[in-house]
């Protein structure tokens, strides 16, 4: 049976992981390679690295990091952040990335999804969508939720699927950081409207939230950052808990 995937998300700046990471036996919490290996060993099914570097050296630093990760890691990983053209994606593919995630670049230039899918296959293209509830509707937001677009979330996601997205990473900005649980209503609705895998993101605070999102929405994966980084939820415990609720996981 296809397992539900548990995906820790790591923020990367200048080739180093940022945000407090709290593993006791980690020699260097800023080393993406060591951290990734640690998560793989704990049983993470996949990793997402989000590059938040803003400098001109970004691309070069990122490629080096991706190569180091690919040399060590025996599970798939996705790279997101700052990918605006085919050449960016191709460099990451050749460095060993399994998937790339695009967000604002896709909103600004939807054809990019199509071009990437054609060049590298749909399995390589994750479209990340940040959504916020405003006046009774769900709207796509950019710049970490600061910039509202004129795209309705459900419409945009369907369009992304048609253009060749192989997977959707849907983050609820209303739930992100609240630790109050995933946005199950929206996730359920979106999940039922498309035929590609969807990763739930935003709001994970407890193991019960993961159980809830898989029971209520049939999404394919759940992503979280801080609850894993701070050791509030340990992946082996989480998988046991999900398994107890008859949710298929890889143990």
């Amino acid at each position: 049976m296809l397992s539900k995937r548990i995906i820790p998300c790591l923020d990367v700046k200048d080739g180093r992981t940022v945000k407090g990471v709290n593993f006791v036996d980690l020699r260097d919490a800023g080393d993406p390679v060591e951290l990734a290996a640690q998560y793989a060993q704990q049983g993470a099914d996949e990793l997402v690295f989000l590059d938040i570097t803003a400098t001109h050296e970004r691309r070069k630093t990122m490629i080096e990091m991706v190569k180091s990760v690919a040399r060590q890691l025996n599970i798939p990983f996705t790279i997101g952040g700052g990918i605006t053209e085919i050449a960016d994606a191709e460099a990451l593919l050749n460095a060993g990335a399994d998937k790339i995630s695009i967000n604002s670049a896709a909103v600004r230039n939807p054809k990019l999804i199509e071009e990437l899918a054609k060049a590298f296959g749909v399995q390589f293209v994750v479209v990340a969508v940040d959504t916020k509830h405003v006046d009774g509707k769900n709207w796509v937001h950019l710049n970490g939720g600061r910039l509202m677009t004129e795209l309705q979330t459900e419409t945009w996601i369907k369009q992304a699927e048609q253009l060749g997205a192989g997977e959707i990473l849907l983050t609820s900005m209303d739930h992100d950081g609240t630790k109050a649980g995933f946005d199950c209503n929206l996730l359920k609705k979106v999940n039922e409207s498309i035929n590609i895998p969807i990763i739930a993101s935003g709001g994970a605070g407890s193991m019960a939230h993961f159980t809830e999102v898989f029971q209520k929405t049939n999404v394919d994966a759940a992503l979280a950052a801080s609850v894993f980084h701070y050791g509030e939820i340990l992946i082996p415990d989480l998988k046991q808990e999900l398994s107890r609720h008859q949710i298929p996981v890889r143990i």
């Binding site: 025996n74 060993g96 399994d98 035929n195 590609i196 394919d220």
Partner: protein, 205 residues
């Protein structure tokens, strides 16, 4: 079989430009399995084992393989060969992807998943593999999970099937015909189970 036999084995990776092979070579490095690239027919002689990798479109991959001029030489190989993902599909007769005729070593077909079965496409993630008693799966735990990502599958045929998986319908996760093996999942991305499988392949005689 002892350590010495292993170290004499070297895998040749068919380098025909269908997808990146960085993750595969990285996985072989981690397992201490030596390898090199196969760019022409003479290169096939240099190695004890051959891997045909492949990601992307099966029809396009077949065209690229044909451009290398290696198809007939691959068909004639008697040493162990492992096709991975699209590399496995190439071993079959035909793919619905691009309505393409393939190498045709294993007389079965590669088909598109049926949306009507209520499944999402691509089949992406970790799925349980039900393997038979085959040396490719030595020391792999029964029903171990491997990482899949694909939209086309190889039809189940009990003659060639050595591992099956269910997603919508039952299909082949791994096949064998004589010295030719194929796996639909990505061993290089499938954690310890995948690493064990690569090690097993490198020791097949």
């Amino acid at each position: 079989m002892n350590e010495n036999t292993t170290s004499n084995n070297t895998i040749g990776i068919v380098n025909y430009g269908a997808g990146n092979i960085f993750s595969l070579t990285a996985a072989l490095d981690r397992q201490g399995i030596s390898y090199g690239m196969v760019n022409n027919e003479a290169d096939l002689e240099k190695y004890s084992h051959i891997i045909i990798p492949g990601v992307g479109h099966a029809g396009a991959a077949m065209q690229k393989l044909q451009q290398t001029g290696l198809v007939e030489a691959i068909k004639a190989l008697t040493k162990p060969v492992l096709g991975i993902c699209v590399g496995m599909q190439l071993l079959t007769d035909h793919s619905e992807e691009g309505n393409a005729d393939l190498i045709g070593i294993v007389p079965i077909k590669t088909k598109l998943f049926d949306k009507a079965l209520g499944i999402k496409i691509p089949h992406m993630g970790w799925n349980n593999v039900n393997f038979t008693n085959n040396s490719l799966f030595t020391n792999v735990k029964p029903l171990a999970q491997f990482y899949f990502v694909h939209s086309y599958f190889i039809e189940y045929n009990p003659i060639f099937d050595i591992a099956s998986v269910t997603y919508g319908n039952k299909f082949s996760a791994a096949i064998q015909k004589n010295n030719f093996f194929g796996v639909q999942f990505h061993p290089e991305k499938s954690g310890e189970a995948g690493e064990q499988l690569l090690k097993n392949f490198s020791m097949i005689r």
